[in-house]
């Protein structure tokens, strides 16, 4: 599968997203990575251009709620219909709140990399 990994917002922590990229490549997936500090608009545009099977957002600064709401609106505005997931420094309590924004799956802090890889491996488009 082709996966777009993105870092929205101003957060500069990219160890996790890169570790995930390594694991997904090892699992046979193709990875496109945006790099740090991309606006949601830029990420959706990139998705439109590269047409990934799944988009993964990594947020560690605590702004996940605002960014996910924005992502939802921007996907609709640009008429992009690609499943997207979010991971990072997210408290368990926020998982259900985030799910209301249309995100397909949330991987809070402490998630094993293998859990994310299995989710993607088993994702049926």
């Amino acid at each position: 599968m082709k996966i777009l990994l993105a870092k929205p917002g101003l957060d500069g922590h990219d160890v996790g997203v890169k570790v995930l990229a390594h694991a997904l490549i090892e699992a046979g997936h193709q990875i496109i990575y945006t790099g740090l500090r991309k606006s949601v608009e830029e990420i959706v545009e990139r998705a439109k251009k590269d047409v990934p099977d799944i988009i993964g957002l990594s947020v560690l600064s605590g702004t996940h709620q605002i960014l996910c709401e924005k992502m939802n609106l921007e996907m609709k505005r640009q008429n992009v219909n690609i499943p997207w997931i979010v991971g990072g420094n997210i408290p368990f309590e926020d998982v259900d709140i985030l799910k209301k924004t249309g995100v397909n799956c949330v991987f809070p802090t402490g998630t094993k990399i293998q859990t994310v890889v299995s989710y993607i491996n088993n994702y049926h488009i």
Binding site: V15, V19, A23, I25, T63, P91, T109, G110, I113
Partner: protein
């Protein structure tokens, strides 16, 4: 009659390899290959090459400075936390800025939405600094600014504030993190391309050497390099390569090594094997002293000192069973003290996932105070010096650090390695290897891959985002923009632009601009127009 002791048959012993790649023997003696060099027997703290500590009496004279990382929401809120920490016995301040400030944006920038005051304090103009440090005596408490991409602006604000308050700039102490090269490796709050970023760091070093001689303009961070995945050897080696890069660029301006080297300091990570970390710092101190003296011909003792802050190690803390982090950080404190740190900024147990509560900040403070007052760590200098194991490891690690530094040089130097993304890629692979090792149990983490307790309940109290403070910050900024002398600000920003084009030291013109309440964002925009922005190399 002579009796003979018969040795028990040897059983198979488990192989132990440190993260640094060094194998550990079950027992070390004076015959040990790396420990038998008698040189260390002659080494004394306070004497070159300072393996055992930079001062002869170390904590016997004065314990390390306690400088907990703090800052959130607005300058008003942060000022309250600063005062709480000082009242509770903290001896230095370590300021956290929000990402908006760190990225050089103003609080009302559309990109700042939801980020104002979230992970640190929001600063837009000098007025915010005036509020954040109100009723705090900058002569009595030293302040460390954790700022990098926009550091020159925040340092300018600090100097402007000190000047306005009437402090003697010749005696003003404090530290700025201001290590942009490591931001390209980990942490990521870079703004400008690598060369221009380094130029700005060198501007601050030059300015301080000439105008604020007791201020430490750069704290070179092995810390974030290690947090990004590097092993302890690479952490030190890359930090030294970075410190050398700043030194080389500063020397090109005709400043003597002894005019600035003593003001360079370091920030290192503490998590991992206790003995490996202690040996790491002892080896690091010796190696840095040799580099400064033998390679840079520094003659002043202080120029050869590896002064450091240590006590953080977020990567070693776990979300699982977070109370265990209190225990982990107590070990961190012990490691830093046994390593002879100058300053300690101990992680709070909740710091890896939220802004510390007042309670967790207090626990961290008390952890250090218990250690200082009840455990005897301040009684004697370098208490592990002379241990066969520690001395052997110290010698081995020094050699390994040198090898790693040579490898960087052989590949064109640290600036080239960072610009191309090669250094980052190497570290990212190591981070993945480590993650795999945790997953397959080769590295054990209590609560994560052993002694697991299935309990999803959060015991950590999450710091709520203060939206009211963020709104007030934006209103304050808008009011200040109206109140200030706009013509004067415009003229000063133009002076800055001209100075940047002329490629002279920008610190003086930035100080003048912030005094008239030019914003962080306005100054950074001027510089972006001239220097452009860093284009991140994409790699894994």
């Amino acid at each position: 009659m002579e009796t003979k002791i018969v040795a028990k048959t040897k059983s198979e012993i488990k192989k132990v390899r440190l993260e640094s790649g060094l194998d550990v023997k079950p027992v070390y003696t004076y015959k040990d290959e790396y420990g038998k060099d008698p040189d260390f027997a002659e080494e004394l703290p306070g004497q070159y090459p300072f393996t055992r500590g930079i001062h002869p009496l170390m904590y016997r004279k004065r314990p390390f400075t306690i400088r907990q990382y703090a800052g959130f929401a607005s300058p008003e809120e942060t000022n309250k936390r600063f005062k709480f920490l000082i009242e509770n016995g903290q001896t230095g301040l370590n300021v956290a800025f929000d990402l908006v400030t760190q990225c050089g944006l103003d609080s009302d920038n559309p990109r700042a939405l939801g980020e104002v005051g979230r992970v640190g304090m929001a600063i837009d103009t000098l007025e915010d600094f005036e509020i954040a440090f109100s009723d705090i005596d900058l002569d009595k408490i030293t302040v460390s600014l954790t700022i990098n991409g926009s550091a020159i602006v925040l340092m300018a604000m600090y100097f402007a504030l000190a000047e306005k308050k009437g402090y003697d700039m010749n005696n003003l102490r404090g530290t700025a993190q201001n290590d942009i090269l490591k931001e390209f490796i980990g942490r990521g709050t870079w703004i400008f391309p690598v060369d221009s970023s380094v130029k700005l760091v060198v501007d601050t070093i030059e300015y301080c050497a000439k105008n604020v001689p007791k201020y430490s303009p750069v704290s070179v961070c092995g810390y974030h390099i290690r947090e990004s995945g590097a092993n302890p050897i690479q952490e030190m080696a890359y930090a030294f390569c970075i410190a050398k890069a700043y030194s080389d660029e500063t020397l090109k301006r005709g400043i003597n090594i002894d005019e600035f080297a003593s003001r360079l300091s370091f920030n290192f990570d503490i998590y991992g094997n206790i003995f490996e970390q202690i040996a790491k710092f002892r080896a690091g101190r010796r190696l840095w002293a040799k580099i400064m003296h033998e390679e840079y011909h520094a003659v002043k003792e202080e120029s050869c000192w590896m002064r450091m802050i240590a006590g953080g190690g977020g990567a070693g803390l776990t979300k699982e069973q977070p109370e265990n982090n209190i225990v982990r950080t107590a070990y961190y404190a012990l490691i830093s003290a046994l390593s002879g740190t100058q300053t300690m900024a101990l992680c709070t147990f909740d710091e890896a996932f939220t802004i510390p509560t007042e309670k967790s900040a207090e626990i961290a403070l008390r952890t250090m105070q218990i250690m200082i007052n009840e455990m005897g760590v301040c009684d004697t200098v370098d208490p592990l010096g002379g241990s066969y194991y520690i001395e052997s490891l110290t010698n081995q690690m020094e050699l390994e650090m040198l090898k790693e530094m040579k490898d960087v040089d052989d590949h064109g130097g640290i600036m080239k390695g960072i610009s191309s993304g090669k250094v980052q890629s190497k570290i990212s692979h190591l981070a993945y290897d480590r993650e795999k090792a945790v997953q397959n149990g080769a590295i054990l983490k209590v609560g994560v891959n052993c002694y697991i307790k299935e309990d999803k309940k959060n015991v950590v109290e999450f710091h709520p985002y203060n939206e009211v403070a963020a709104k007030m910050q934006i209103e304050k900024l808008k009011r200040k923009r109206k109140e200030r002398n706009t013509d004067k600000v415009k003229a000063l920003l133009e002076v800055l632009r001209q100075d940047a084009l002329k490629n002279v030291n920008l610190m003086p013109s930035i100080i003048e601009a912030v005094k008239e309440y030019a914003t962080v964002g306005e100054i950074i925009v001027v510089l972006k127009e001239i220097y452009g922005e860093y284009k991140e190399p994409i790699f894994f």
